[in-house]
């Protein structure tokens, strides 16, 4: 292998695959975690507004620090995104359970409203900063393209924290499935567990969004496929979702890079193509089980 080929593999291809694995694992883990914490089969980083909150925060950082390109994000960006994601999920949660109707659908409708509101804020910021609009736009569609390991280095610590917290607490998600009252009777502090799990999932989402933009549907498609294969215990669902999510995104990226070569289909478009129809399927079955 020539030096040039080695550089292509080590500095372009490999970091891209590793980034895809990490982002896919995070989004799928966060989706599974939200579904358990909210006892809602439709919960997902996108439908809850977490991704939109993170996206707005990242856009704001780029817009207000002119000269920053998406390629070289300052290392604090995932934390800003985390703040945005937490605010968005908190808003969704407050709006979604404030009414008397506590059906899974009302939480998701609140998430859609919050997402739309935050996306509007993001569009406004982008219009105000037309110079950065192209960069932000290509990031918005989701991208794993990278020339080096900096995104992986940026994501890795946050991903590790998220994975450790969620996987350690995964038994509590099973206990939460009997409802808060009965979970309390079994010795849990359900609200405390929920806050911790949602915060961890939002951190993972935010870190993934910071480096790769908005890649939808991984968080809902993967945990549901795992559920079909491995049953309903979160102790199996969460670790398997990480593995499946990683594989799914790496393969989706491969498809996006090769189908229209030499042009690339943005990864977010590929996952939406696969995930959109799947989501409709989940909606139909979830209606039978839950609503």
């Amino acid at each position: 292998m020539s030096e040039r080929e080695a550089a292509i593999v080590l500095q372009l291809r490999l970091p891209r695959v590793v980034l895809g694995l990490l982002v896919g694992a995070m989004l799928a883990l966060a989706g599974g975690c939200y579904q358990g914490a909210f006892r809602n089969p439709l919960a997902d980083p996108y439908l809850l507004g977490a991704a939109a909150g993170a996206g707005l925060a990242v856009t704001a950082v780029v817009a207000f620090r002119s000269g920053t390109t998406i390629g070289q994000l300052p290392s604090g960006v995932p934390l800003a995104a985390f703040g945005g994601a937490l605010v968005a999920v908190a808003l969704t949660y407050l709006l979604g359970v404030a009414g008397r109707d506590r059906s899974p659908a009302s939480l998701i409708l609140a998430g859609v409203a919050v997402s739309a509101f935050l996306a509007a804020g993001q569009t406004y910021l982008m219009q105000r900063n037309a110079d950065d609009i192209r960069a932000i736009y290509s990031w918005l569609l989701g991208r794993l393209a990278t020339n080096g390991w900096q995104e992986v280095r940026l994501l890795l610590p946050y991903a590790a924290v998220t994975a450790v917290v969620v996987l350690l607490l995964r038994r509590e998600l099973d206990v939460l499935s009997v409802g808060d009252d009965e979970a309390s009777g079994l010795g849990l502090h359900p609200q405390r567990s929920r806050y911790l799990l949602v915060a961890a999932a939002s951190l993972g989402t935010a870190a993934a969004v910071s480096v790769s933009g908005l890649i939808g549907f991984v968080g809902i498609v993967v945990p549901h496929i795992v559920r079909m294969l491995a049953g309903t215990s979160y102790r199996a669902i969460l670790p398997l979702s990480m593995l499946f999510g990683a594989a799914f995104l790496a393969l989706a990226d491969l498809a996006g890079r090769t189908f229209a070569a030499p042009a690339e289909i943005p990864i977010g478009v590929v996952t939406a193509f696969v995930g959109g129809p799947f989501f409709v399927l989940v909606l139909r079955t979830a209606k039978r089980v839950i609503m």
């Binding site: 009252d181 009777g185 079994l186 010795g187």
Partner: protein, 267 residues
């Protein structure tokens, strides 16, 4: 020894006072059933005893005020079967009963072999060993009630709270479940505090009844002392006749306008 002591318990939810100074005691090994009209506060009383509502020092379990017990310690002391427990979709009976071991599993750990063994023995005792792999949601009403009971027993708590344990069951399964609870109580020395709607059944299985009305105890004692025509007429606004049988008093509802004799059925 007194297992449960409730002394002057007041509970207010929102602005509505639900319990206004309830006092009762349950001796170790005793079965006490709380009866009362809808909205009397029966379920709220049970939730407060189970530590699910802040009760301060008004509720003591085995000599310790509930407020001073940590959640996990509480879950090893008292086990509750809710009125209509949540049935998690897709969960197997074994996994469901295993949730009852939660107070024994360290927060970040997993169940040990002894937890699994405890679940197996509970399933055996409740005649559910063949159901372990079945999905909880596919069980019939009576089987499901046994599974709920199994989860509570897996907590190995000596106090068992049952909120309307038989309201979803036909009369045969009601008897089956209550006989089972009574057997478990005798064999394992459980103390049972239950709420129930069916007065005759309530009287047939309890050592003592406590009648709750508008958040206060208005009568308590043996079934014969509490289930009287006068008391039931007054607090339930019901027309009933109480017939004494060898198993205790039987409450027979009467049609309007009848004067103590059972009304003929109209078609």
């Amino acid at each position: 020894m007194t297992a449960i002591v409730v002394r002057d318990l007041h509970v207010t939810l929102g602005r509505a006072p639900i319990l206004r100074g309830v006092s009762l005691t349950v001796d170790a090994g005793e079965w006490v059933t709380v009866i009362g009209p809808n909205g009397a506060g029966k379920s709220t009383l049970l939730r407060a005893v189970g530590g699910l509502l802040p009760a301060g020092d008004a509720v003591s379990l085995l000599g310790t005020p509930v407020a001073r017990l940590r959640r996990r310690a509480l879950a090893r002391t008292v086990a509750t079967v809710a009125q209509s427990p949540v049935v998690p979709p897709g969960m197997s009976v074994f996994d469901y009963v295993l949730l009852g071991r939660t107070p024994f599993v360290s927060p970040l750990g997993r169940e040990s072999a002894s937890d699994v063994a405890a679940v197996r023995s509970v399933l055996d005792r409740l005649d559910l060993s063949g159901f372990g792999d079945r999905e909880l949601a596919t069980l019939s009403g009576g089987e499901r009630q046994r599974a709920f009971l199994a989860r509570a027993l897996a907590q190995e708590a000596s106090l068992l709270l049952l909120d309307e344990p038989t309201s979803a069951l036909d009369i045969g399964h009601q008897q089956e479940v209550l006989e089972l609870v009574d057997t478990l109580r005798r064999d394992s020395g459980l103390t049972v505090l239950a709420t129930m709607h069916d007065l005759s059944i309530a009287g047939g299985y309890a050592d003592r009844l406590v009648l709750l009305s508008e958040g206060a105890v208005v009568a308590s004692g043996t079934p014969r002392e509490v289930l009287t025509e006068e008391t039931l007429t007054r607090f339930y606004r019901a027309r009933v006749r109480v017939v004494d049988s060898e198993d205790g008093p039987v409450v027979v509802p009467l049609r309007a306008g009848s004067d103590g004799s059972v009304a003929p059925q109209r078609f």
